[in-house]
Symmetry: C2
């Protein structure tokens, strides 16, 4: 392996972009695993606990722009919007499943991993953590 393999824009580094946005991989996975590749907006949203409306829509837009999803509007009376995976989206589902399956098979490793110092203050611990040296 050469230095060149690790210049800024090599393929390995770019893979990380899929995981850089919090919900992208989960949308890919859920759309594929629970909705057979296509789902209406509301149904998809409800199957992703924790995502805010804003981030949900924003992530879908980014994924559509990226070519991972198609957005179909049945412009009927209450406009029904359906999202479906593109072929490119399906490619990336393969990657996501790889990673998620690893997580399932290695849950013990994930349990063994201690959280980072800075990552445990979930806004509730922030308030009680204000007393270091004065």
């Amino acid at each position: 392996m050469q230095d060149d393999d690790w210049r800024e824009d090599c393929a390995p580094r770019r893979v990380l972009e899929i995981f850089a946005t919090k919900w992208t991989s989960m949308i890919l996975h859920t759309l594929n695993a629970r909705h057979k590749g296509a789902a209406r907006s509301g149904a998809l949203h409800r199957s992703l606990p924790g995502v805010s409306k804003k981030m949900f829509v924003q992530t879908l837009r980014d994924m559509e722009t990226g070519g991972l999803l198609d957005r179909h509007i049945d412009s009927t009376v209450p406009p029904a919007v359906t999202y479906r995976l593109t072929p490119l989206g399906h490619r990336f589902v393969g990657l996501v499943d790889l990673v998620y399956d690893w997580g399932r098979d290695n849950a013990d490793a994930l349990d063994a991993l201690q959280p980072r110092e800075g990552a445990r203050r979930t806004r509730s611990t922030v308030l009680s953590q204000s007393e270091h040296d004065a």
Copy 2:
């Protein structure tokens, strides 16, 4: 698949934490692939183009806390510090290699992926275009 599989702290979601910090996976991979699992601070740093000193050290600290790395200080004349993968670290190298190998094998999919609207001016984009026409 049930809703319960997607509650906040399921294994699949936690895997993402490894990729949440920009340099963690690269350090794991590089340490394993280019340094046989152990390297001195400076050598490791030099094999990771783009990382700032601060983030390099900070990420190493977090990884040490997480149990992915050991830090050995040969307190000799100029203190030589060596980082080596722990068994847990080796586990995660497996995951990282999985992802990076996918990236290598699917570079065309990565090329086909259009960047997000908001992600136009990331560092890699800036660098790869820093010598634009102007």
